[in-house]
Amino acid sequence: MRGVLRLVVAIIVAGASWAMTADVQAPAAKAQSAATTSVTVATVEWIEQFDPGVLASGPGMNYKGSMFDNVIGAAAGGVLSKTTGVIEDWVVSPDATRIVLRLRKGIKWHDGTEATAEDLAFTLTRFGADDGTASARPTARKIANLEVADRYSLKVTLKEPDSVFVYGLSPLEGDMLFIKKDAYRKTEKGWELVDPERPVGTGPYRFARRKLGEFVEYEAFDSYWDATRKAGFRTLRIVRIVDASTRLSALRTGEVAVAPLNPEQLDGARRANLRIMGPKVAAIPLLMFFGSSDPAFLTNKVEFRKALVLGYDKKAIAGKLYPTAVASIATGTPLFSPVSLGWDPALPAYAYDPQEAKRLLQAAGYDGRPVKIWSYPFGSAPELPLILEAIAGYWQAIGLKVELTPIDFPAFRPRLFTQPQPWEKQYAAHVGFLVPLPRPSTLNNFGTFMISQKAGGVAAGYWNPDKIDRIRSELGRIGDLKELDRRLRELNRELYNDYWADAIAFRHLVFGVTSKVCGWTTPDGMDVPTTYSTLRPCPQ
């Protein structure tokens, strides 16, 4: 008996000892004792690998984005920049099939070697590889041929004309980052990092160390090529805190300096004297009418689509769910936004008009079939099921039958990829949300959300596929961006009266920021490139 008791006591004491003698330096303690030259940031998503060609999209970028550069940079207002990316200039041929990219001279990798056009060619190759899962992959797959013209120039030939190809090389439309050829080796299925524990980039911060599941730490890269954008802190530490209340508490204790917040936490954050920062118009929840190109569904008729759009009070719903810091009411035609080509600020949001909606239902010959609402939360907009519940209530009030089906997005998503999409015919319509990023080229969003599967589309949400496929193809051939902007503006006005979908809000990203940080450049119109490389400390 004594032996057993001793054993139990020994186990307990050993357990406590393990706890006490942990050898890892405490992140919090470190944060508390660190000089102002170090900053700790909390993130939610956590992709613990450093190959941007794999799973680089979305908040996973936060984990590693600060150690890489964009291929083409972006500036405020959804504009491509020739100063913030590694490409200093590009020339698009008039027929939009050939592009010459000019790499900036003197860009150093973190291992001290110089970046060349070979690295640029490899970047485009790796992102388009079979094992690539980044959102920039479709851009890279448009390439027919790459030719290194000299040490700093790369000639790109596309399979088809694409006037907005260069947008896909920027953080405005994807997650392409500049990567080093020598850091990879070829595998049977694609590419892999030669040393996954020693990743190399050209960004303002370089990798220092990490502990799986706990933190990744970067240090300032003193040889960074752009003196105006050098790292603001000596050390950047990124930790993962999934629970929203813990993130807010960590901000309040000062253990982290920057952390993403949920909409309902804004009041609490302000009471705790935290500042609210982050990019505006980072996502656009879009109410889609799936399968509307099929005449079997009433959403094939403009009267019915208009009735659905006018039949709920967008302002009331968004007003209740979104504080002003989190979103603004979406206006104009869906897929156009204040940062996109063809944007027309004169077009208002669709107005709530239940009487007109009722009349339109009759005009469309509504036959009493239910409207199927597919309800799932989305990573960048977890509030969508609430919005759909509210919309369902409004629609019932105008005389529609609705059938709300809660589902997980990964379980729903295969429907979009199936050809033809399997929408059950006993319903008047199939409705659900997708959440486009406000990609400024507009055309790339047409590709994902509007055009037919036959033409390479995914959601194929436009009611007249022949028309939109033709338009997308025509506009893709316009090499002059000013002309493209003008043509898109015309199209914007035309599509406004189509009621092909409805954007609910221009959703912003909100972060709580402590007094340790005095500046942070987060260009609007993007969520992908929300990295922490532009955090600036307060003056001592």
């Binding site: 992140p27 690539g132 805190i241 629970d243 960590a250």
Partner: protein, 304 residues
């Protein structure tokens, strides 16, 4: 006894094999990881390429055979989402959970054993009431509430302790107390009721009649028999803790098995889910086996 242990080991192996089959099939019902991995802008071609790359286009039986044959060679596979071997990933996260579970167990036992014994002695008295309140609180308050409250009080208001992550001993305090309190409630109740039963038995009366000191009667003679049900519970709950105290780990951003499991389920990372499930099943089986052995050592009747 050796035969008994041998039988238990065979049963354990069969259980583990069944676990591999069940979890392999169950995770695949939940949808494809490809639909989680790929960005919204992914094309059909990209989706097909990813399905093929992950081998998800092959027949289910072939996928299982591949998984099992690699498993038998000690290869747990590669994560779909993290692009990394699962072995080191699992090792690091399990180690963190093991340390937290051990610390929580230490807190739970330290709190429960003296309180349970003393509560049984002062039945109905203030100490018994205090023990009841502690047990009731521990059992009825979910750990995400106690965790958040602990963060608020000891982290935000008092500023005594760090509130997230794993590192120095200070990082263990809040999650270990949160888990330990929850755990102590069960031990305390079982120990108290066990002690009440035992204290009325003949052999305790004899011990007292022999003039033994009350402390010796309580801690040496009564506790030995009263501890059996609590010991079973202890083993079981330790297994549960090692299986990943998901809520507590998430609230305190503890990089353990629970966090890994919860992430992997959200990402449909089949190889990690399978590995975590197998590991936790094995852990619980080993702990149950150990409890059986300890039981037999404590109670000679079981050995016969």
């Amino acid at each position: 006894m050796a035969r008994q242990i041998g039988m238990s080991v065979v049963q354990a192996l069969v259980t583990l094999w069944i676990t591999t089959v069940v979890i392999f099939l169950l995770v695949r019902i939940t949808g494809s990881p490809v639909d989680v991995i790929l960005p919204q802008t992914a094309t059909s071609e990209q989706r097909e390429a990813t399905i093929k790359r992950l081998g998800l286009d092959r027949p289910l039986a072939y996928q299982y055979w591949l998984y099992l044959s690699r498993l038998l060679q000690g290869d747990l596979g590669r994560s779909y989402t993290l692009n990394a071997d699962i072995g080191p990933l699992l090792r690091d996260h399990f180690w963190n959970t093991f340390r937290l579970a051990s610390a929580a167990m230490a807190v739970g036992v330290t709190l429960a054993v003296p309180l349970g014994v003393l509560a049984s002695v002062s039945r109905g008295g203030p100490l018994d009431k205090l023990a009841s309140i502690i047990a009731l609180g521990g059992m009825s308050l979910p750990s995400f509430i106690t965790g958040i409250l602990a963060i608020l009080v000891f982290g935000v208001w008092l500023g005594w302790l760090p509130i997230y992550g794993a590192g120095s001993w200070k990082h263990f305090v809040l999650p270990a107390v949160t888990l330990g309190w929850f755990n102590s409630a069960g031990i305390l109740r079982l120990l108290r009721s066990g002690m009440l039963d035992v204290l009325g038995s003949e052999y305790v009366k004899v011990a007292r009649a022999k003039g033994l000191a009350e402390s010796s009667v309580l801690w040496k003679h009564a506790l030995r028999n009263a501890a059996l049900p609590a010991l079973t519970f202890l083993g079981f709950s330790y297994g549960i803790l090692l299986a990943g105290a998901i809520t507590t780990e998430v609230v305190f951003a503890w990089p353990g098995l629970g966090t890994l499991a919860s992430d992997s389920v959200a990402r449909r990372d089949f190889p990690i889910i399978q590995a975590v499930t197998l590991l936790t099943s094995a852990t619980i089986i080993v702990i149950n086996l150990s409890v059986d052995v300890v039981y037999a050592m404590l109670d000679p009747r079981i050995r016969r």
